[in-house]
């Protein structure tokens, strides 16, 4: 019996579970939830069991129609994010090079405005499809990216810049080869925030006004009181957000950049 236990302890799965203790509260909650459903404490029409949701999720992931909706959400998410990244980098660099006194007041005015309120105007201007949602993501995600870039560029150790200048690098070369790589850490943190903002905005926009996407699936299911189908998109967007967040954290740790 002991040697079995010792073998189990060495198995990679066990090691992984032990290291990632964060998973236990989640499993605990799911277990409680499942037990409550089995015990009949919760009406299944109001709160489906985790098992039911998991089954429906597995079934949906094999359905190309469903995958299409996931695809639509992901397209908007990533397009919006990358556009916001490009714009945020440019604006952040501009701010570091002297545009800050002009841009900071604009940022200060724009920040307390809930960007989701702009969505109806964007729909009227850009239609019900991808464009309005991508524009919404850009409007919201550009701010953390811009500020992260600025912060990163401002925190470059000056001796690194001097070492590059002495080697003969021009101003733009210094920005490209020293300042931006040095700012990568804070920029990645900004990307994490921006990706979550993208998830939130795309999902909400698809709930408010859309013909496809995960958010749209939720409201459609709501109209026909299909609770299980309402939970599936929520679980999915949560998993997508977590996955993106974890990948960036992983990337930040693995990259040879100063902490």
């Amino acid at each position: 019996m002991d040697h079995i236990r010792a073998q189990a302890r060495r198995s990679p799965l066990f090691v992984w579970f032990a290291k990632h203790g964060a998973i236990w509260p989640v499993i605990g909650l799911l277990a409680l939830w499942q037990l409550a459903c089995l015990a009949g404490l919760v009406p299944p029409r109001l709160l489906p069991s985790p098992a039911a949701v998991a089954l429906r999720l597995a079934h949906d992931l094999l359905d190309p129609g469903f995958l299409f909706h996931i695809g639509q959400t992901l397209i908007r998410l990533f397009s919006g994010f990358f556009l916001a990244l490009a714009l945020g980098l440019c604006l952040g660099i501009a701010m570091a090079q002297g545009a800050e006194p002009f841009l900071t007041p604009l940022v200060r005015v724009a920040s307390p405005i809930p960007k989701i309120a702009l969505y109806p105007a964007l729909v009227l201007l850009l239609g019900f499809g991808h464009a309005s949602k991508i524009a919404l993501v850009v409007a919201d995600a550009v701010f953390p990216l811009m500020l992260a870039t600025l912060h990163g560029l401002r925190s470059v150790p000056p001796k690194l810049v001097w070492a590059a200048q002495a080697a003969g690098a021009s101003r733009s070369t210094v920005v490209l080869t020293v300042k931006l790589p040095s700012a990568l850490g804070p920029i990645l943190t900004g990307c994490r925030i921006a990706l979550v903002i993208a998830c939130l905005n795309v999902f909400l926009a698809e709930m408010i006004s859309s013909s496809d996407g995960l958010g749209h699936l939720l409201v459609t299911a709501a109209r026909s009181y299909q609770v299980v189908d309402m939970f599936v998109p929520l679980v999915l967007i949560s998993l997508i957000g977590l996955l993106l967040n974890a990948s960036l954290q992983f990337a930040r740790r693995r990259l040879p950049i100063a902490s």
Binding site: A22, V26, I116, A117, L147, S209, M230
Partner: protein, 267 residues
């Protein structure tokens, strides 16, 4: 220097500190106006038309009541959040097991827009105010939990030991030692929470349309009344700015004693 009547010198001070922001607003409005005139599209009314529409909306009693109802729901949700999430967050900051229990659960909730829970919550609680307040409460809880736990974690252990030595019970320690010491961070959390409360309020009202600012906005979009859409956006924007300014004032007033005044996201 000539001393004008007190009201003018106060105004002058406000101007001196914020003239850049005022200029930025004016610039934005001008760009908007120019873009609208140049594009000449019906869907983009000019800034001037929109500004003229704002008093029209505000003169409609029904609409104003709706906006006030929205604000009331926000306040209720935010207040609930303060009562529940702040103490819980402070406790999390001092208790590693509690933090390890709750952190993964909040991480799961983070990428879900709380307003997206409206359809499910409406199944349970119906269409009234309660579901919206609950959703707003959930929305503000995350930043309040996070910042309160950060603030509590950073409280100097020695302060707590002194309190223990004085015989203070756990709850008393939480409220009378940890909360004041963690207040700067908690107030930062409040600032974030206010903007999230606004976002959650607007989006929940666009999803579950009953009355309120979000409802107004959605209706205007649905009926393609272009000036109304932009006018409501302006009203919401002003509400957002005012709330942020007020919260920031409150934060500074309550925590000016802190060594390092953290400027928050965009000060």
């Amino acid at each position: 220097m000539k001393q004008g009547p007190p009201r003018f010198s106060a105004l002058r001070q406000v101007w001196r500190r914020n003239w850049r922001t005022v200029l930025a607003c004016a610039a934005l409005l001008l760009i908007w106006q120019a873009a609208a005139l140049w594009l000449k599209r019906e869907e983009l009314p000019s800034a001037w038309e929109t500004l003229r529409d704002v008093p029209v909306i505000l003169s409609s009693g029904e609409d104003v009541l709706g906006i006030l109802a929205s604000l009331r729901r926000m306040a209720l949700g935010f207040g609930l959040g303060l009562l529940v999430a702040v103490p819980l967050g402070l406790a999390m900051g001092r208790s590693k097991p509690l933090a390890r229990l709750l952190n993964p659960l909040t991480a799961l909730a983070y990428p879900i827009p709380k307003a997206a829970l409206m359809p499910i919550i409406m199944l349970w609680l119906g269409i009234g105010d309660l579901s919206k307040v609950l959703v707003i409460f959930m929305g503000v809880s995350l930043p309040l939990l996070y910042h309160s736990s950060q603030g509590a974690e950073q409280v100097d252990d020695k302060l707590i030991w002194s309190a223990q030595a004085m015989g203070m019970g756990q709850v008393a320690r939480l409220l009378r030692v940890i909360l004041p010491a963690a207040l700067p961070e908690v107030m930062l959390g409040c600032r974030v929470a206010v903007s999230i409360a606004l976002i959650t309020m607007i989006s929940s009202e666009m999803i579950a349309r009953q009355n309120g600012a979000g409802n107004l906005l959605f209706n205007a979009m649905d009926m393609a009344i272009y000036t109304d859409v932009y006018a409501v956006i302006l009203i919401i924007a002003v509400i957002g700015v005012v709330l942020d300014v007020l919260m920031e004032r409150l934060r500074v007033a309550l925590t000016h004693w802190a060594d390092t005044l953290q400027p928050g996201s965009t000060s």
